[in-house]
């Protein structure tokens, strides 16, 4: 434990600082702070899920720039699945299933057939945009809502309980849970060790008797379900409608968050929150005015923040070495 604290002291220090600042802000500006934190998390939810898709993919050695497309397809399938069947459950299953299928598409093209990973991702995005724009029907409505969940005890905590554990949709809880589970799995299980080995140095994994291709196929495909959830959140929870291009570049933002989070699930969660908060600040500035700043300029705040953080992070963090490279055995 002491060694762990010593090793992660920078992260812990920054984390503690941010937490203290958040509480200070929370009590000092109690009129706007709770809603800003709420908005921040609301914005971050799909980003967390999507960033996890990226983390799992790249940790296994597959660059996934098709997250945007996966989300879009899932948002589409989920919304219209629910609308036509009249059942939210069917919609959710359709959305998650579509995410899986899209993940499988990426996995098979890049891992089994060794197609260029960037091109495969772009293809997925184009297909998704095409399909969802072409078959789009307006005027459909959802038969219900995704239930909100209160977590007993945890919801009593000021700030944290209010923001994360009270009156939040089930998908939000799943996002937190997923980040924790993926983190533990990646760094503390056999699956995680193998996945990281496959993403860093696949031939070492191969000679140690690990089936590189199969592990990559399974990981990339299963990660698709999280992209599915992220998409569902957008069309069935956050807005309860499907619009053309509803994902609005969040799949790509998620990749930036993945890098800012150094390919680690929990850091990605924190980074998504940071990004959400900047976004909330931008909206708040537009709302309250006060400053004599044109709204177009405040709207760029999140993107400027991303640029700054990425510029700082670049060179300090190092991604999985084999991400982006198909693994070819000696014999083939």
């Amino acid at each position: 434990m002491a060694a762990w604290v010593q090793k992660n002291r920078t992260t812990l220090g920054i984390g503690l600082g941010v937490l203290v600042a958040a509480y200070v802000f929370y009590y000092a500006k109690h009129d706007i702070a709770p809603s800003m934190f709420g908005a921040a998390w609301g914005y971050a939810i799909p980003l967390v899920l999507a960033a996890l898709v990226g983390v799992i993919g790249e940790r296994s050695g597959v660059v996934n720039i098709g997250i945007e497309g996966q989300m879009l397809l899932a948002a589409f399938a989920g919304f219209f699945g629910a609308a036509y069947s009249g059942s939210m459950i069917v919609g959710i299953l359709a959305g998650v299933g579509t995410g899986l299928i899209a993940g499988g598409f990426l996995a098979w093209t890049t891992v089994r057939w060794r197609m260029d990973q960037i091109i495969a991702g772009v293809v997925l995005n184009i297909i998704a945009t095409g399909i969802t724009s072409f078959y789009l029907k307006s005027g459909e409505i959802l038969p219900g809502v995704i239930p909100n969940v209160d977590v007993p005890l945890l919801k009593e905590i000021p700030l944290i309980g209010e923001t994360f554990f009270s009156g939040r949709s089930a998908i939000a809880l799943v996002a937190i849970l997923a980040a924790v589970v993926v983190h533990l799995a990646l760094f503390h299980t056999r699956w995680g060790l193998r996945t990281r080995a496959v993403g860093e140095y696949p031939s070492a994994a191969d000679t140690a008797g690990i089936n590189v291709e199969r592990l990559r196929l399974v990981n990339v495909t299963l990660a698709g379900s999280l992209a599915g959830l992220a998409g569902l959140y957008l069309s069935m929870d956050a807005s309860a409608s499907f619009e053309r291009g509803i994902t609005a570049g969040r799949g790509f933002l998620a990749l930036a968050i993945m890098i800012m989070g150094a390919w680690r699930p929990l850091r990605a969660l924190v980074m998504a929150l940071f990004f959400g908060f900047i976004n909330a600040v931008a909206s708040q500035l537009q709302l309250t005015g006060g400053f004599d700043v044109p709204p177009q300029l405040t709207g760029t705040l999140p993107y400027v923040a991303t640029l700054v953080v990425l510029a700082v992070a670049a060179g300090r963090v190092r991604g999985p070495a084999a991400a982006g490279q198909p693994y070819v055995k000696k014999d083939q």
């Binding site: 503390h188 299980t189 056999r190 699956w191 995680g192 060790l193 193998r194 990281r196 080995a197 860093e200 140095y201 031939s203 070492a204 994994a205 191969d206 000679t207 140690a208 008797g209 690990i210 089936n211 190092r318 070495a321 055995k329 000696k330 014999d331």
Partner: protein
């Protein structure tokens, strides 16, 4: 190395007897170092326990063939390995040795023929299958994940877990410590592999192989990256393992090592076994002749040097490495025309940075270097080349060749934009081809033609392309860094001869090599480096092997 082998035996002086000296063959000792407890159950005549005893047939290969396209990498190979035996596979680059062992380990599927392990001839499906059947392999390019710790690397593929899939790294660390104590190979389980020196990485590789139940250990060119001391340690470990009933198949170019540890040798040439011999019935010359198919001159015949005026003058040079740490610290040396100066030293003592600085590839922090009256301290590689410096780089794949270009283009890589290879900015392909044909002939580059890509050549022939290019323009200074690393005997002989010829034609030669043998046989003068500076300079004819070894180790 603990108390079992108090000091690394000196293989250099007496290859035949060397490593045997400190072996303990008592039952208790063998039982304590054994890699696979099942061996203990076997009677001695099967287990191969103890010196000179060989046991059951562990590996039996019959009529193995493998082709890649039109290249027949292995042709009808038959060989067998008994328990407790050390078998060397000897051959030139491209003779098919790696292909052969990769088939034993299940990385490559044979076209025809069978590989039987302990009498079981079921085809080996993949590495997992090979491991399960008691085969361990240490690859030429280490198969370790750089960003993971030693312990994590060791358990990869057979993880110790508790409660389902949860990793038990504490158990892994214990396992590493136990194994490392048992075999006398010291490693720290918590260091990340990328922070370890090459020699230690190899220890990890070997321990990784031993952490499974191993009957047969395959070592693919294990000594290529090791210093002489590390090599001796490794040879002692190999002997020890063989005595405890583990068979070893190892690939090497170095005859000395074969004679020092192997019981039997299979010599491969052009994918086929051309000879099988017990090491006690042969010598270096016999093995080299079998490898190349003709008599090989192992010692270089050279006349005494007749040095002229000073060509290269290096004064108090300081250069930093990639991490920004001082690698070359006050290096001073002068090389005269018509002499070969050998820079001897354990790798990582600034040799790489020195050569890169001299070639203009690395910035000089302070100090001065000059070629005749020309100051080269701030020169770039283009300028150094045109000043008359020929550079045979240490890493030929990265700095010596463009693998996807043809041999012809590689041969004019630093002069492609000048007459006669280009006129008014237009390349003259006839001249390029003519030059290539001439050099191919002269330097005996074995290829299907000069338009073949350089990347598809074997190691020795790649090196000949580099050497041909750097020598063809008659440089005033020839810098050769590890000129024969990973190169077969025939090509070594050839390259050595050419270096001596360059000297006789009046070039100053700076030879940097980790092979002490090479330094001793080629140099006229020897500079020993340690910590990035010259610690001793001597005439080659007064040089003493052990003395240089001591200086290299920093004892001065």
């Amino acid at each position: 190395m603990s108390e079992r082998t108090p000091e690394p035996p000196d293989v250099h002086t007496d290859p035949q007897a060397a490593v045997d000296v400190h072996l303990d063959t008592s039952q208790e000792h063998l039982a304590s170092v054994v890699t696979n407890e099942a061996i203990l159950e076997l009677p001695p005549e099967q287990s191969g326990f103890g010196e000179g005893v060989v046991g059951e047939v562990l590996l039996d290969i019959e009529g193995l063939s493998k082709s890649f396209g039109s290249v027949r990498a292995n042709r009808d190979i038959s060989l067998s390995v008994r328990r407790g035996e050390i078998v060397a596979l000897l051959g030139e680059n491209g003779a098919g040795k790696s292909t052969l062992v990769n088939q034993i380990f299940g990385l490559i599927t044979p076209d025809t023929g069978t590989v039987a392990i302990k009498g079981d001839a079921t085809p080996i499906k993949d590495p997992r299958d090979a491991i399960a059947r008691g085969i361990g392999m240490v690859h030429q390019h280490f198969q370790l994940v750089p960003v993971m710790t030693v312990a994590e690397n060791m358990v990869l593929g057979h993880e110790t877990t508790r409660g389902g899939g949860v990793l038990d790294l504490a158990a892994a660390r214990t396992m590493v410590r136990e194994l490392s104590a048992k075999h006398g190979l010291a490693v720290d389980p918590d260091t990340e592999v990328e922070d370890l020196p090459v020699g230690t990485q190899q220890r990890v590789e070997i321990l990784k192989a031993l952490s499974r139940k191993v009957d047969l250990l395959i070592l693919d060119e294990p000594t290529a990256v090791l210093t002489p001391q590390e090599t001796d340690e490794l040879l002692a470990v190999m002997k020890e393992l063989a005595n405890s009933g583990t068979s070893i198949v190892f690939i090497t170019h170095k005859l000395r090592e074969v004679l020092a540890v192997a019981d039997r040798v299979y010599v491969l040439r052009q994918g086929a076994v051309v000879g099988e011999v017990a090491t006690k019935d042969t010598d270096a010359k016999g093995l080299a002749t079998m490898m190349v198919g003709r008599e090989v001159v192992l010692s270089i015949d050279k006349s005494a040097a007749s040095p002229g005026e000073t060509v290269l003058e290096v004064q108090d040079l300081h250069v930093v490495d990639d991490r920004g740490l001082g690698a070359v610290n006050g290096f001073s040396l002068s090389v005269r025309a018509g002499e070969i100066v050998g820079v001897a030293g354990v790798e990582g003592n600034g040799q790489r940075e020195l050569v890169e600085a001299l070639a203009g590839m690395r910035k000089v922090v302070s100090g001065r270097m000059a070629l005749g009256s020309l100051d080269l301290t701030r020169a770039n590689p283009h300028q150094t080349h045109h000043a008359g410096v020929g550079h045979v780089p240490e890493d030929r794949e990265k700095h010596g060749l463009v693998g996807t270009y043809s041999i012809a283009d590689n041969l004019v890589l630093n002069e492609f934009d000048q007459a006669p290879y280009a006129k008014s900015g237009v390349r003259q392909f006839d001249a390029v081809r003519e030059n290539a044909e001439k050099l191919r002939e002269e330097f005996d580059i074995r290829s299907s033609g000069v338009m073949q890509t350089a990347g598809s050549l074997s190691g020795g022939n790649k090196q000949k392309v580099v050497v041909a290019r750097e020598m063809a323009f008659k440089p005033k200074l020839l810098m050769a860094a590890q000129p024969t690393r990973g190169v077969d005997v025939g090509s070594i002989e050839f390259i050595h001869r050419r270096i001596v010829e360059a000297r006789d034609e009046g070039a100053a030669v700076l030879l940097v090599s980790a092979e002490l043998d090479e330094i001793l046989s080629l140099s006229d003068r020897i500079a020993v480096v340690h910590g990035g500076a010259v610690v001793a300079e001597m005439d080659a004819k007064d040089a003493d092997r052990t003395e240089i070894g001591r200086l290299m180790a920093g004892d001065h």
